[in-house]
């Protein structure tokens, strides 16, 4: 399913651990963004990253820096701090997606289904975002019981996310 040429950007929250995985991802798509996870051997990944794709601003962070791990409000703080519409974090190895305050917080889960100390029964999963103008459709691919299950979530960006002064 992951065929080279179909995907334009890869956003990776971290913990790739070894360079070979990065190389593999590079074969899928040359535009690769990675932030540093706690087990990464590559020390030059940044802690957080922001990028703009289409009309959306995306923020990337591994998530082990944000405590409590996986807590929505803390992540929302990070989102405001980075000033992004979509925040992608990981570390919990569990897929979640929240709409929050005019933005989206996505946790794609673990692509390999690696062991996590905070999650039972990790299913390998990843997320495909289809950004089209002011609309993003999030497809979630999960491997459950040997089968690929796909789910879809629609987000529309409000054109002016006006935050009142206080």
């Amino acid at each position: 399913m992951l065929v080279p040429g179909k995907i334009q950007h890869i956003i990776c929250t971290g913990n790739l651990c070894i360079k070979e995985v990065q190389d593999y991802l590079k074969t899928l798509c040359p535009d690769l963004h990675i932030t540093r996870g706690e087990y990464d051997e590559e020390t030059r990944y940044p802690e957080t990253k922001t990028l703009t794709i289409g009309q959306f601003k995306l923020g990337l962070c591994h998530g082990h820096q944000v405590i409590p791990w996986g807590d929505l409000d803390s992540l929302a703080m990070l989102q405001r701090q980075l000033d992004v519409d979509i925040l992608v974090t990981g570390h919990t190895h569990q897929f979640t997606a929240y709409k929050h305050e005019g933005g989206v917080v996505i946790n794609p889960g673990s692509a390999t289904g690696a062991y996590s100390s905070i999650t039972y029964d990790v299913n390998p999963s990843f997320v495909l975002m289809d950004i089209d103008g002011l609309r993003v459709v999030v497809y979630v691919y999960e491997l459950i019981d040997g089968e690929v299950k796909v789910d879809k979530i629609d987000f529309k960006k409000t054109t002016t996310a006006t935050h009142s002064a206080h």
Binding site: L2, K6, D130, Y139, Y141, V150
Partner: protein
């Protein structure tokens, strides 16, 4: 009442749609849609509207089906799509995403072409809306025809169609503005825009319109009744009435549905609408299923093009074939885009008017038992007109094509068609050629011709490849374009199609070289040419030089093939010319005999037959030419010189003319000395070579027909064998073979074929007659000149010969005149 108006309209509509009245400013898009078969050629407005509506519905349905946007939730989520199959990464071919990506790839290809479409009319064609429409139309067509896919050039076919629709819509809006009253219902001062389906009553507008009403009272009172309007305006009104048949969908000229209409037109054009010419075929790389020639259709059509060209103008054809200019090099673009890249947009529209008017239905060929039915493209009027148009274009740039010996230059000329052209003339010529192309004999002679052509093609290409060191491309010297054009114009004063380039001064260097070579060559000639012959180095005389260069040219062609074959060929060619002339002019044996005798006498009674003499002369320059092979010029010049010497033997016209003004006494060397003094001679000689080439081409072609006839009633079996062979093969080689064997016998049977020849080639013979008339005039004028100078000759023997030659020449001239009159009468 409305019905009454409609019925009244019927005649006016037929007027509008008749081809003769197209200049009525009739709506091109409607006319073209009728021609392409989308709209019925019926005068009833309602029929038109209904057909329009149906075609648009079809397109809309197609668009909905094929243009997939998986982003848009289709049914409001009632049936949630199976996401496992239908996700973007799915490799399932049925998934909408899969289709979406495939479409996206097609679109990318299309966009590459669209971005470069008509940059000179970029304000229309590069606008986003227009590009979007074009993209969608092309995409949908390609999705509908996956076997064709998208090929570069399809966008060029589509663009004029859309443009025509756009122009008509603009016309409509102009007309609307002028005749507001008839297009807008005005009740109580409120105007209900016809086009405005979702009419929103706007009070503000109401008040404004009240004021306008007051102001425009004067204008609106003028034309009240529909009938008072121009019939064209009436047509427009009826076609675009929102309340007519099919309502808004039936408005024949509608900006809303431009995309639909353009798609329908494009589809009809590409598929040929059950006719013979389908543009889509031209994009197919593989031969059609029922193709007889086994060639891809565009190659076959290019072959048809060359075939027609060879019939109309075989010298140009052979010139192009020699250079190795295969027709598809330029015809591919011409045919695939229907000349879209050769003319400016507005000229193109005129051309397409003509082409689309031509009927596309298959002509039933009376093929009978023969299975091979000829070129597919010539199977309809439209196809024939397309081929004729192409040939007419080639003929338009004839002079510059003949002027160059370089295949690249030829192609450049053909691919960069001149800007300011006389389009009417071009089209008129094309129409005349179309008739020719449709001639059943020609189109169904594919079987024999094609085989011959492909063989000759391969022979030519083989020749070109193999005879590298002999430099097949440039047997003649490379001279400036204007130089050759001058020669050409000299030969064809009557033809108006030729471009008028001013003649630059003739290349003096060429002449110098030439004189040297002449000296070199002639010193080698063993047999001493008779004084008369030597004296015939008439330089200032055009026609003699012309004739000589006819030989010269044939010499060139002969040399091209084979050095030894060239000898035979040259001799045979000269003989051929005789026999051909004999045939054409319907000379009796006696007249030919008189010619022979005249020549013999000219040669101071030398017992040698004409052919032998000429052959000996030729063999020498041929050998010398082959010796000095490093310079093409050498061969040319030497052969020219030798031609000059031997040529006079053959041409009865020249027998008297040449010698007189020349102060040459006896040996050719003397003639040589005087040669360099004449500046014009070299030029005229070269000019004559052009004509000679042309003439030889014509003669060869005539010869071919003559041979065909000869084969029919061959008295001599050997002759018949030879000629039958020649009829089936390339004329050059055939003449080489056959003529050597059957030299003398030909003379015996020239006359009987005259009638048969005439029947076959009347038109061309007429041209031939005209050119002969020209020659006669020239000859006579020179003859008058010569008579004065006869006395100044030193050589006594020469004067004797000259006197005799004059007499014979006079008789010959008279006969020639008679013949040309006969021909022109035909």
């Amino acid at each position: 009442m409305s019905r009454g108006i409609v019925e009244e309209e019927a005649p006016s509509l037929t007027r509008v749609f008749s081809p003769e009245n197209r200049s009525l400013g009739a709506l091109r898009s409607v006319q073209w849609r009728v021609n392409l078969g989308i709209l019925p050629p019926s005068p009833s407005v309602n029929d038109l509207r209904r057909e329009t509506a149906d075609s648009r519905r079809r397109y809309a349905g197609l668009r909905r089906r094929l243009l997939v946007d998986p982003h848009v939730p289709k049914d409001g989520g009632s049936n949630s799509p199976d996401l496992v199959m239908d996700n973007p990464l799915s490799q399932n071919p049925d998934s909408t995403w899969g289709r979406f990506f495939r479409n996206a790839e097609l679109e990318k290809m299309v966009d590459q072409d669209l971005s470069r479409l008509y940059p000179e009319h970029g304000s229309y064609f590069q606008a986003l809306g227009c590009q979007g429409m074009l993209r969608r139309i092309l995409l949908l067509w390609c999705l509908r025809h996956p076997e064709c896919g998208y090929r570069q050039g399809m966008h060029e076919l589509l663009a004029p169609l859309l443009y025509v629709l756009h122009v008509d819509c603009e016309r409509l809006s102009d007309v609307r503005k002028i005749h507001k009253d008839h297009f807008i219902d005005k009740f109580d001062g409120l105007s209900f825009e016809e086009n405005d389906v979702a009419y929103n009553f706007d009070f503000k507008k109401f008040l404004d319109s009240m004021e306008d009403e007051v102001g425009s009272q004067g204008n609106s009172k003028k034309v009240r009744s529909l009938d008072e309007l121009d019939p064209e305006i009436q047509t427009i009104k009826l076609l675009t009435d929102a309340y007519g048949a099919e309502g808004e969908l039936g408005i024949v000229l509608s900006e809303k549905f431009m995309e639909h209409d353009a798609y329908c037109m494009f589809e009809a054009l590409m598929s040929g609408a059950r006719g013979s010419v389908a543009m889509a075929d031209f994009f197919a790389p593989f031969p059609a299923a029922e193709s007889h020639s086994g060639l891809p259709p565009v190659i076959e059509a290019s072959t048809a093009l060359y075939h027609l060209l060879s019939i109309v103008d075989s010298s140009l054809h052979s010139h192009l074939v020699e250079l190795g200019v295969e027709p598809q090099y330029f015809a591919l673009r011409w045919l695939r885009v229907l000349f879209g890249r050769e003319f400016s947009l507005h000229d193109l529209l005129v051309v397409w008017d003509e082409i689309l008017t031509a009927d596309n239905s298959k002509l039933g060929k009376v093929s009978g038992n023969e299975e091979i039915s000829g070129f597919k493209i010539l199977d309809s009027h439209r196809g024939a007109l397309i081929v004729a148009m192409a040939v007419s274009m080639i003929l338009y740039v004839r002079s510059s094509l003949l002027a160059t010996e370089n295949a690249t230059t030829c192609l450049q000329r053909l691919l960069n068609f001149p800007e300011n052209i006389n389009l009417k003339k071009l089209i008129a010529k094309a129409k005349s050629l179309q008739v020719l192309a449709l001639d059943s004999k020609i189109s169904s002679s594919l079987s024999t011709f094609d085989v011959a052509y492909s063989r000759s093609k391969s022979a030519v290409s083989g020749r070109n490849l193999s005879s590298g060191p002999v430099s097949p491309n440039t047997p003649l010297s490379v001279v400036a374009d204007s130089y050759w054009e001058e020669k050409w114009r000299v030969l064809h004063k009557a033809e108006e199609l030729r471009q008028d380039d001013s003649l630059d001064k003739l290349a003096p260097s060429g002449k110098r070289r030439w004189s040297e070579k002449v000296r070199l060559v002639l010193s080698r000639t063993e047999s001493d040419p008779s004084p008369a012959r030597a004296g015939k180095y008439k330089k200032g005389h055009r026609s003699s030089v012309r004739r000589s260069l006819l030989e010269d040219l044939s010499q060139q062609l002969g040399l091209e093939e084979d050095t030894e074959a060239g000898d035979c060929f040259d001799t045979s060619n000269i003989e051929d010319r005789h026999s051909v002339e004999g045939q054409v002019e319907g000379q009796n044996d006696t007249s030919i005999a008189s010619i022979c005798t005249a020549e013999e006498r000219c040669e101071s009674g030398s017992g040698a037959s004409v052919s032998e003499e000429s052959s000996s002369i030729f063999s020498d320059p041929a050998s010398s030419g082959s010796i000095s092979n490093d310079h093409e010029n050498d061969t040319e010049k030497s052969s020219v010189a030798s031609n000059l010497s031997s040529d006079d033997n053959d041409d009865r016209h020249q027998s008297d003319l040449e010698d007189s003004p020349l102060p040459v006494s006896s040996p050719p060397e003397d003639a040589l000395l005087s040669y360099p003094d004449e500046n014009e001679s070299s030029g005229k000689t070269v000019s004559a070579s052009k004509e000679s080439r042309h003439l030889s081409g014509r003669f060869q072609w005539l010869l071919k027909f003559g041979w065909n006839n000869v084969s029919q009633e061959a008295s001599d079996k050997g002759v018949s064998n030879e000629t039958a062979k020649s009829a089936n093969r390339d004329s050059k080689s055939s003449t080489a073979d056959s003529s050597t064997a059957a030299g003398a016998s030909r003379y015996s049977s020239p006359t009987s074929q005259r009638d048969v020849v005439d029947q076959n080639v009347m038109g061309s013979l007429k041209n031939l007659g005209q050119s002969m008339l020209e020659h006669i005039q020239v000859l006579e004028s020179v003859f008058q000149q010569d008579r004065v100078q006869v006395g100044s000759l030193d050589n006594l023997s020469k004067t004797n010969i000259v006197g005799k030659g004059q007499v014979t020449a006079m008789t010959a001239l008279k006969e020639l005149r008679k013949i040309s009159n006969l021909l022109s009468e035909m």
